[in-house]
Symmetry: C2
Subunit: 197 residues, 2 copies
DNA sequence: CGAGCGCTTGATTGAGTTCAAAAATCGTGG
DNA sequence: CCACGATTTTTGAACTCAATCAAGCGCTCG
């Protein structure tokens, strides 16, 4: 049932089968149907989620009702609202499913327990956090400096598979442009013979 | 000599004077004159820096030679290049001093040692990393959704003191707009009687 | 005191938005 | 399996926010 999660942890931290058994005692999974919401703005939850199957997104909605995708979370990724999970404040993002998905619900206790049972886990966790920061710095840098076209090219290079699984208007939302603009960017790229789309 | 660093660590982690003494053995500080570079793009360094005094910035330079500020680092903040420090890759950012500054040079060993001597430090570190991620998500969200004016208002609210210490063109660079645009935004705000600038 | 840098202002341009509508694709029930 | 409605993508035209280019002002610091 937690097979994918086990494989993930074991490739990252060399946790034994028995250790895995122990640390995931009581841990539950949850299936989320396409288009249904896992976490909504304003909620205060003590959970964050590991995606075993499917694809989710975290996004915000501005005053004009427009959505802005903060993160896509396919298999083997984490998703949640840090505001809520780490700081016990109301969630500022909405998390919902782009495809039928299955997630593992993880609370703070899990992190503590696992850190005690398997100290390598803490190291791994710190590296993962640093990696995420590095990744976000890159995204900020692109938003500061690059055109819509450059950002799109960066996206398809970084997430070739997502390009096929995510509707175009959501990618536009992730890039910070309108669906119409992304359509035009793609048209322009196609004209200049980017068959690779 | 490390007074400011000691106070920082003690307010965050309740490390004793003796512990501090032990973990900072061999740790060196460095003074950086205004406008001089602490870390340049392409360097591979095993250090990250805690700012005891002054103000630094991390920024990138794009193909057209334009600078984009990723981070301002005043007193009691950390600055460095994660690519280099955490992943031993060439630095992608430049770090230089906006004011005459003094930093503590910290290497990976410090983090390991400190984590062993004072386990609370690890907890604190993880929280700080999560806090930074939360903060960067907020910035991405603003870049995706807000106008130049909204981003500027957010900036002066979040960093009232920096607004006075940082030249205007650098704030523009942080916000992802040109100095000319920021000048106009300020003019517009002044007209609408935002005396509070 | 003058050269250079930072800030402002104006005129023009341009990337991307908005609004509107057509074309293509998808999902679902008969 | 097809048809129909809904959603997504594309296309067009007008518009807007911010960028660019260019000039002038004011400060400071060497």
């Amino acid at each position: 049932m937690l097979q994918a999660f086990k494989e993930y942890l074991q490739t990252k931290t060399s946790i034994s089968d028995e250790q895995f058994q122990r640390i995931t005692e009581g841990v539950v999974t949850r299936k989320i149907k396409k288009d249904s919401v896992l976490l909504k703005k304003g909620d205060v939850t003590s959970y964050t989620f590991f995606v075993m199957k499917g694809l989710l997104r975290a996004y915000s909605i501005d005053e004009q009702g427009k959505e802005h995708v903060i993160q896509f979370a396919p298999e083997n990724n984490w998703v949640g609202d840090r505001n809520s999970f780490c700081f016990n404040e109301p969630a500022i993002f909405i998390v919902d499913a782009i495809e039928d998905s299955e997630v593992v619900c993880i609370d703070q206790h899990f992190f503590e327990r696992t850190g005690q049972h398997a100290p390598q886990f803490n190291r791994f966790n710190v590296i993962a956090l640093n990696n995420l920061i590095r990744f976000m710095q890159r995204r900020v840098n692109l938003l500061l400096s690059a055109t819509a076209e450059q950002r799109y090219l960066d996206f398809i290079e970084l997430y070739p598979s997502l390009t096929l699984r995510v509707p175009q208007w959501m990618i536009a939302s992730y890039l910070g442009i309108t669906p119409e603009s992304l359509s035009r960017v793609r048209k322009e790229l196609a004209k200049r013979n980017f068959k690779s789309i």
